[in-house]
């Protein structure tokens, strides 16, 4: 499916992909188990997040590669500030040797708050991501980066001493208009962090603008939507599992986004205060239906499927189920594999 012909239902069925995101917070073998389970259940991709306090995404993906055979693995996403693009290229190229044509490099601006803990400045994010993509792509194609004189990176001479196995697509993690446009200009795909169709619709408008600017056809461009997802046959259980995730999203959300979704700033402030004070019950009970609707996709498999279908109709080509996935991850993967994915794939 492409952004140009998103309305053709038969193509929606034929071309859509499903992904599952994991934050490597758990022992490595659990993440590996879940990904292998997802592969058996018809998922196409897994995305492993990159935050310094969690397990390393490349180590995690290396372990995954040993116990899976076809699922594609992406770092979703790394950033140009903490890891030099040359090292990022080295990491992903090394991984490609273990899983040829099964790896994707996701690059985004990074999480300002976590990078701030390390004293890392996140200036000129669009520029930093652009330069990172340029450098990584050159190295991954087996070429030399010579006298690279960017605003962020200065590289005199760099070349990998080994050739990556297969093609390694580069996706851009994007939220704002500028980054979305950049993704459409230089990426093989985009990772959009959004769970509400209005946000996705808006993001796709920016993608189209970016593509038009460089005269690019987006027919082979992967539009990946990263959602906070929770499913269970009992909708209350699905909702309960998603509550903490949504509470943290609301607490970190800029007021403009909250207002856009009709969320009371007063309620959001109260929730944030409760979270900061560690009053979990108070915080989670302050999560409203509007907040759930804006920042998660949760419910029974039928309810979730309807929402997923809307995403595909908008032009999304890959739907990623992110944290919490369900009250119990292995059971949720089983439910998704049996009751959601088959509705979209033959």
């Amino acid at each position: 499916m492409s952004l140009q012909n998103a309305s053709k239902d038969e193509e929606v069925v034929a071309m859509v992909k499903f992904g599952v995101e994991f934050i490597p917070q758990e022992p490595f073998w659990r993440t590996v188990f879940y990904v292998a389970q997802a592969e058996k259940g018809g998922f196409d991709n897994t995305w492993i997040t990159d935050h310094f306090m969690n397990r390393n995404p490349y180590t995690t993906m290396a372990a995954i590669s040993l116990y899976t055979e076809k699922i594609t693995m992406g770092v979703g996403v790394t950033n140009p500030y903490l890891v030099n693009p040359v090292v990022t290229a080295q990491n992903i190229a090394s991984l490609s040797e273990m899983a040829p044509n099964r790896v994707i490099l996701g690059i985004g601006a990074g999480d300002k708050t976590t990078l701030g803990f390390l004293g890392v400045e996140t200036s000129l994010p669009v520029r930093a991501v652009r330069e990172c993509v340029e450098i990584a792509r050159t190295l991954l194609s087996g070429e030399k980066v010579k006298n690279y004189d960017g605003k962020i990176f200065k590289i005199q001479k760099a070349k990998l001493a080994f050739k990556p196995s297969g093609k390694i697509p580069i996706y851009v993690g994007a939220q704002g208009p500028m980054m979305l446009k950049l993704a459409a200009k230089i990426g093989d795909g985009v990772l959009i962090n959004a769970s509400h169709p209005d946000d996705v619709k808006e993001a796709i408008i920016h993608l189209k603008k970016g593509a038009e600017k460089v005269g690019r056809d987006l027919s082979n461009f992967d539009v990946v939507v990263y959602t906070s997802f929770s499913t269970h046959r009992d909708r209350r259980k699905a909702r309960k599992a998603a509550l903490p995730v949504v509470a943290f999203i609301v607490a970190g959300c800029p007021p403009a986004i909250l207002e856009k979704h009709g969320i009371s700033l007063e309620k959001a402030t109260k929730l944030k205060k409760a979270l900061n004070e560690g009053k979990w019950d108070e915080a989670f009970s302050s999560v409203t239906d509007e907040m759930m609707e804006a920042f998660s996709i949760c419910g029974t498999p039928e309810e979730c499927s309807e929402k997923i279908e809307k995403m595909f109709e908008l032009g999304v080509t890959q739907f990623v189920m992110g944290s919490p996935i369900g009250p119990k991850v292995h059971k949720a993967i089983d439910t998704i594999s049996k009751e959601i994915i088959p509705r979209f794939k033959e």
């Binding site: 073998w29 188990f33 292998a36 116990y67 119990k328 292995h330």
Partner: protein, 101 residues
């Protein structure tokens, strides 16, 4: 694949006559325990057995005698009484008693 690690013959004796439904139920009960343990409580999991478990999972052999045996070994290391409870629930009372013992 099943010869990757020889299973304790004593343990195998209890598993060899299990039917396919019982194997599936036992597998998911043991996995359910392992996958919902608090991450900190997993620290003592015997890593070589865990890697073996992943290999059996990859090749759909977790319901074999060796696969189930490996799962039981991992669970037993982490919590013998919980493991015994799961085994008893699945009709393996004698094995449960031995593990508790």
């Amino acid at each position: 694949m099943e010869k990757l690690k020889s299973l304790d013959p004593e343990l195998k004796r209890f598993l060899v006559n299990l039917g396919s439904e019982q194997r599936s139920s036992l597998k998911w009960d043991l996995l359910g325990y392992l996958l919902t343990l608090k991450p900190k409580a997993c620290a003592g999991a015997p890593i070589e057995n865990v890697k073996l478990m992943l290999l059996y999972w990859k090749y759909d052999l977790l319901e074999s005698d060796e696969g189930l045996g490996t799962l039981i070994e991992i669970c037993k290391t982490l919590d013998p009484s919980k493991t015994a409870e799961i085994l008893a629930k699945n009709g393996l009372n004698e094995l449960a008693e031995r593990i508790k013992g």
